[in-house]
């Protein structure tokens, strides 16, 4: 029983971070209908930005954090303007492949700039693990979860109350109507990419703080697909719920099944759940069902 409680708690903690990264994906998908396979690489680059400012430049943690947000926003903006703007109205396969190509470019560049060596952040939070009754949580995971939840809440408030958030929701709802209400839809695309890059980068910083960083960190980004599919591609609330489900599933399945098959269940379980969910509900748990007419 202790083990189960332990697995559930760490599953929720990891799930919170997944939710933040998935948010970065959903924001872009909702506004622009682009499925971003480079989300994982945005995450990885964000972690490296943080490393650069914190260790190489020597800034204190909070200014470094703000610089990461600024730099990732610039990166998202640049990528949208330079590449994705040309892809408007292209078939799905082209858009999927462009973001896959992009992820390859970002990964190669990261290897060139920061080398393939494994890097660690200096400790940011008190080392002592957090103890809740019988359950022990690593301090990095606990604080990472707190930061991720704060970031998710900030994004939620932004979408609910800020003018730009409302404009983005309008764009996602109906581009033509948004356009005729005086919203600059193209600017909204750029904003969406910037926000998406920021959310992914923050997730990357947290993940990097837990497990260290290297250019292959972006592979974790593949896990956001079970997350976003579970929640439905275009639902922000769904991304958060999906994040928790995937965190729980992978921890519990990993904890109980790993000894039998020799490891690796953690990375597989989310995808098995994904297939099962898709077989029952083809548009995810909270996704919008398309009604097509000729």
């Amino acid at each position: 029983m202790d083990i189960l409680a332990q697995l559930i708690v760490s599953g929720i903690a990891v799930g919170g971070v997944y939710a933040l990264i998935a948010l970065g994906f959903v924001v872009i998908y909702k506004a622009t209908s682009i499925i971003n396979f480079a989300t994982g690489e945005f995450m990885m680059i964000g972690a490296y930005f943080f490393y650069t400012f914190l260790v190489m430049v020597g800034m204190p943690p909070i200014p470094s954090f703000l610089m990461v947000m600024l730099c990732s926003a610039m990166l998202g903006l640049f990528i949208e303007r330079a590449i994705l703007r040309h892809m408007l109205g292209q078939p799905t396969i082209s858009i999927v492949m462009v973001t896959i190509g992009l992820s390859s470019i970002l990964m190669g560049l990261a290897e060139m700039i920061w080398s393939t060596d494994f890097k660690n952040f200096p400790p940011l939070f008190p080392r002592a693990p957090i103890i809740l009754g019988d359950i022990i949580i690593r301090s990095n995971l606990f604080w990472g979860f707190i930061v991720a939840m704060l970031a998710v809440a900030a994004f939620a408030l932004l979408f609910k109350y800020a003018k730009v958030g409302v404009a983005m929701r309008a764009t996602a709802g109906d581009q033509m109507a948004a356009f005729s209400m005086g919203i600059n839809v193209r600017t909204m695309f750029t904003v969406a990419w910037s926000l998406g890059a920021i959310a992914a980068a923050l997730g990357g910083v947290i993940i990097g703080n837990i497990g260290g960083i290297q250019p292959t960190l972006g592979n974790i980004g593949l896990k956001i697909f079970p997350v976003v599919i579970l929640g439905g591609l275009d639902s922000i609330a769904g991304a958060v719920v999906g994040g928790f489900i995937v965190g729980l599933v992978e921890n519990i399945a990993g904890g109980y099944l790993d000894p039998y098959v020799g490891g690796g269940v953690k990375d597989l379980a989310p995808f098995v759940v994904l297939v099962l969910i898709l077989l029952i509900k083809p548009y995810g748990l909270f996704g919008k069902e398309d009604i097509e007419r000729l």
């Binding site: 499925i35 590449i83 040309h86 892809m87 292209q90 799905t92 396969i93 082209s94 999927v96 492949m97 462009v98 896959i100 190509g101 992009l102 992820s103 390859s104 470019i105 970002l106 990964m107 190669g108 560049l109 990261a110 290897e111 060139m112 080398s115 393939t116 250019p215 593949l222 697909f225 079970p226 599919i229 591609l233 098959v261 020799g262 690796g264 990375d267 597989l268 995808f271 098995v272 994904l274 297939v275 898709l278 077989l279 083809p282 548009y283 995810g284 097509e292 000729l294």
Partner: protein, 347 residues
């Protein structure tokens, strides 16, 4: 300027090789392919064999993704299934190569239909992610079902032999790979002239309209998955006999992406495009690698910068082609041909 290109019957207009000029060029191409192994060294032959495998797999993927419009991120897994089927049948049951070859295709097609089954209810991005899940699941099975797949150490495979002739060198393998490649390509080219192939294209262009015109969507999508995986399985079988070993490292997600990159760079939905794409995406990284190895030993620091360059170039190729030449090398080839066909006139 080429003239006198007129047709008197529909069948002449529908022919694969429509003019005498094309037939002459094709004949020259076949002669060149037959002469090539006698001229080339083992390394070039090895590359030619791998390119042949890549062409078969890419043509298969182009049937599913290019023609039927179903994006698959799991193609490498099907190549892997073919490869493992061949390896297991050879080592456990001692079946000869000629029987393993179709059986690996059939087993890949079987699993392809299982993976394609969800296409009954979903499409587009959701299906794309379902195939991604299939890739991850099969990869896991390759690694962890140690008693059957040999785990990460894989399975060593003996050389292929047909009627007592052992195909132990690259030179001999060339005479297996290339004829099968030619058969696969012509099968794919002819597929698009049949009801099934045309139904694939109709589904890609507008699935609802296709359904209204009497195409059973689910049935034909399953056909598309099965055909595509059959090609992949055959390619996998050949790959095993060329490399003499099969390990899970040969079929990662990156390999699936590489096959997609081939058909994007070559030209979606075009058989010729898949051939160009497969050659391009096999030879360019290899050329880049040998170019980079020139720097080896001069300065190790430079190497650490140059090595990741391959990843960057791979991504750049995909992005640049999609932005500037969405129809790929096949379209460039068509423009080049048009230029010479009309030469010396401009239009």
């Amino acid at each position: 300027m080429r003239i006198g290109d007129y047709k008197e019957s529909y069948s002449a207009d529908e022919a694969v090789f429509r003019t005498g000029t094309v037939r002459v060029w094709m004949l020259l191409l076949f002669v060149a392919m037959a002469v090539f192994p006698f001229w080339a060294g083992p390394y070039l032959l090895y590359m030619a064999n791998l390119t042949g495998v890549a062409i078969i797999a890419a043509v298969g993927l182009n049937i599913l993704t290019g023609a039927a419009g179903q994006i698959s991120l799991g193609h490498a897994a099907f190549v892997g299934i073919g490869a493992y089927t061949a390896a297991i049948l050879t080592t456990r049951l001692g079946l000869p190569f000629l029987i393993c070859l179709p059986l690996s295709g059939i087993s890949a097609a079987f699993f392809g239909m299982i993976v394609g089954a969800p296409s009954m209810r979903m499409k587009g991005l959701y299906l794309c992610i379902a195939t991604l899940a299939a890739q991850m699941i099969f990869e896991f099975i390759f690694v962890h079902w140690t008693s059957v797949t040999g785990g990460i150490r894989g399975i060593n495979v003996p050389t292929a032999s047909i009627f007592g002739i052992s195909f132990d060198t690259e030179f001999k393998m060339y005479f297996i790979t290339v004829p099968i490649m030619v058969i696969a390509v012509s099968a794919a080219r002819n597929l698009f002239r049949t009801r099934v192939g045309r139904a694939f294209i109709a589904i890609r262009d507008r699935d609802i309209s296709a359904e209204l015109m009497g195409i059973n969507l689910f049935q034909y999508k399953l056909y598309a998955f099965a055909t595509s995986s059959f090609f992949a399985g055959v390619a996998g079988c050949l790959q095993v006999y060329i490399l003499k070993i099969v390990t899970p490292e040969h079929f990662p997600l990156h390999e699936s992406v590489r096959y997609l990159a081939m058909i994007i760079v070559g030209g979606l939905g075009s058989v010729l495009g898949s051939i160009f794409g497969a050659i391009f995406m096999t030879c360019v990284p290899e050329a880049l690698q040998s170019l980079l190895s020139l720097f080896q030993g001069i300065d190790d620091k430079i190497m650490s910068y140059l090595y990741p360059l391959q990843t960057v170039v791979f991504g750049m190729l995909i992005v640049v082609f999609l932005v500037f030449e969405p129809h790929g090398l096949a379209e460039m080839w068509r423009r080049l041909k048009d230029y010479f066909r009309l030469w010396p006139f401009e239009h």
